[in-house]
């Protein structure tokens, strides 16, 4: 799989149990979940707190390993690979957007966007230009040198979106990306995210509590107790 491929992602019998070394006595966050995300698809995941939405995102994004089952990218089992291999896949293939933005507080907006590119070893002139271009794209031209504490919530999330797009990943994973934003910023950030996805043809998994946000995706999944209880397409 090349760096900019958009993979088909399959979750096959995915279970994640927390505590007691993942044994049956722990908390079951995901329960034998099956899901296929086709290339370029946008998918919203809704459900009550604790139903396993974030756990699903973590497993699909390879920052957690399943207790049982497998995650496949284009048919290749990747969920149980070594942390080194999964880190490489995350770096090149996944863009994360978190509810609390998770920008590094000691870095400027531009440096935050450059972080994934630097980790990939891209030359500084190249990543410098690309980081500025991405910040321009999300409406933060001229705010390159601002530190996270100097930015509003909406601006921080825009930086996070720019960072997620830095290495042109095939898969964007957004965990409540508008959860800490007001309604005006919610709309703006959502528009930016969907537009960026559409331009690049990436897949998008959007975890949200907000039905209005969920409706903007092409496919809607509802989860409860670690399982998918509804999977529908269209508005």
């Amino acid at each position: 799989m090349s760096e900019h491929d958009v993979p088909t992602i399959e979750c096959d019998g995915l279970s994640r149990v927390y505590g007691k070394d993942g044994s049956e006595g722990g908390v079951r966050a995901l329960d034998r979940l099956d899901l296929t995300i086709r290339p370029g698809e946008s998918l919203s995941v809704e459900g009550p707190s604790g139903c396993g939405k974030t756990t699903l995102l973590n497993l699909v994004g390879l920052i957690d390993t399943p207790t049982r089952g497998e995650v496949r990218w284009d048919g290749r089992a990747v969920g149980q690979r070594s942390e080194r291999e999964r880190a490489r896949l995350r770096l090149t293939g996944v863009g994360f957007i978190f509810q609390r933005f998770y920008l590094l507080p000691t870095l400027t907006a531009q440096e935050n966007v450059e972080l994934p590119m630097r980790a990939l070893g891209r030359p500084s002139t190249d990543r410098n230009a690309r980081a500025r271009g991405l910040l321009d794209e999300v409406g933060l031209a001229g705010r390159y040198g601002a530190f996270p504490h100097e930015l509003s919530g909406g601006e921080e999330q825009r930086v996070a979106i720019a960072r997620a797009l830095a290495n042109e990943p095939g898969l964007l994973l957004a965990d409540e990306p508008t959860g800490e934003l007001d309604s005006q910023n919610t709309l703006q950030v959502l528009d930016l995210l969907l537009a960026a996805r559409a331009r690049r043809g990436s897949s998008l998994v959007l975890v949200t509590h907000n039905p209005a946000v969920a409706q903007r995706a092409e496919r809607h999944i509802v989860m409860a107790d670690g399982r998918i209880v509804s999977d529908a397409r269209g508005a």
């Binding site: 994004g61 880190a87 995350r90 590094l104 994934p116 980790a119 960072r163």
Partner: protein, 413 residues
């Protein structure tokens, strides 16, 4: 809250740097001063004017010193043999109480012949303390000849005592003035602490027989028991070319040993070798002592680095979630270790130097003298700095392990 965290973080870093600095300052002081003193002792030894030395166990253990020196001097390839008795005595000047010091009893002509190249200019060419062979007063071991009672006084001591050439001072084996004997100062010797060492700098030089009689290491006629004629050493000077030929030195040492089978006979080469060994042992001791301090400092550094991972677990979790490779995180931790270790090392080098300077200014006389020999060897200090930097990288391994062992979902929670 953020400000408090930054202050707390700053304190941790400052303590880590201070711990490493303290750990580095100790070996800087020990190695520079200790190494300097050892180097000085070695150079003094290498600067001796004699090639073979006779010593005996016990206090002033060489007995029959005049006779023995004569027999050794008669050996082929031997230029002269100088018996030396060193004894602590008390000195009374024109005013004031007893001043303890060291006296060296010597045979004048033999003593002059055994002086090293840098010692020779400090003394008059002919030592003006009675007859050159010290035979008049010794009088074949009866001590019935006329006592000379001349003394050469080193310049700092003369200055302290307020005396000069021609003055009379009183030498006593005890702190009692009633036991003292009057001596006339016939010369003031130059004194260079760097050449003679701390004790010899203030040593008085007088005829061997006078000092033996004064201190009781000879018995005058009429007393019972054997005549001791004691000395501490007999320094043997070889003639011209023989002095630089190892075979000749060994040959003479062997002949001297045959004369005195129960005494220790060593060559200067032996002594230099022993001094080298002693220096190596001392250096090992300094390094062992320093390594304890370094271990404590680096453990502290390691703990601070691990603690920093704890406080930055979310940032590290974010970086790992984004896919930053483990080796980059390890490099970041090692970089932190090197920066803190490097800052501590720099501070430690400066602190060590400052401590030596302070000792040099405000320490006791003997401390000042020792500190005066301090050598800040760039190779030694560079090796120390490199070792600390290497160990700082090792100290960062715990932090690296903690950072890479973080559960990303938990770190982001």
């Amino acid at each position: 809250m953020r400000r408090l965290r930054l202050i707390h973080h700053g304190f941790q870093m400052a303590f880590a740097v201070a711990a490493v600095a303290a750990a580095v300052a100790l070996p800087v002081v020990l190695l520079s001063v200790g190494g300097g003193v050892s180097q000085h002792e070695l150079s003094v030894l290498q600067n001796q004017g004699f090639e073979v030395e006779v010593t005996a166990p016990g206090l002033h253990g060489v007995q029959g010193a005049h006779g023995l020196a004569g027999r050794i001097a008669a050996l082929p390839e031997v230029g002269s043999a100088s018996p030396v008795l060193s004894s602590a005595i008390d000195v009374f000047g024109p005013t004031g109480g007893a001043v303890p010091t060291l006296a060296e009893g010597v045979v004048p002509e033999a003593f002059s012949a055994a002086l090293g190249p840098s010692e020779r200019p400090l003394f008059p060419a002919t030592l003006p303390i009675g007859d050159p062979s010290d035979s008049g007063h010794f009088d074949g071991g009866t001590y019935q000849g006329p006592a000379v009672d001349d003394v050469v006084v080193p310049s700092p001591f003369a200055q302290d005592l307020g005396v000069s050439r021609g003055s009379t001072i009183w030498l006593s084996p005890t702190a009692e003035r009633s036991d003292a004997v009057a001596f006339q100062i016939t010369a003031i010797a130059g004194a260079a602490a760097a050449t003679l060492g701390p004790s010899a700098t203030n040593a008085l030089v007088l005829p061997l027989s006078d000092l033996q009689l004064l201190t009781g290491f000879a018995r005058s006629n009429g007393t019972t028991g054997a005549l001791l004629d004691s000395a501490d050493t007999v320094e043997v000077v070889l003639t011209g070319a023989a002095s630089t030929e190892p075979g000749a030195v060994a040959r003479v040492a062997s002949q001297v040993q045959a004369l005195v089978p129960f005494y220790s006979v060593s060559t200067l080469a032996d002594q230099v070798g022993q001094a080298h060994q002693a220096t190596a042992v001392l250096s090992g001791f300094y390094i062992a002592l320093s390594s304890v301090g370094l271990a404590v400092g680096l453990i502290f550094l390691a703990l601070v680095l691990v603690r920093r991972v704890e406080t930055e677990r979310q940032s590290i979790g974010i970086e790992r979630a984004l896919g930053v490779p483990g080796r980059q995180i390890a490099a970041m931790m090692a970089g932190r270790g090197v920066v803190l270790g490097g800052a501590g090392t720099a501070a430690g080098l400066v602190t060590g130097w400052l401590v030596v300077e302070l000792f040099g200014r405000f320490g006791s006389a003997s401390v000042q003298l020792a500190v005066g020999y301090a050598v800040f060897d760039p190779v030694t200090l560079g090796a120390l700095a490199l070792a600390v930097l290497g160990l700082s990288v090792l100290a960062s391994l715990g932090a690296t392990r903690a950072a890479l062992g973080l559960s990303i979902p938990e770190a982001l929670r």
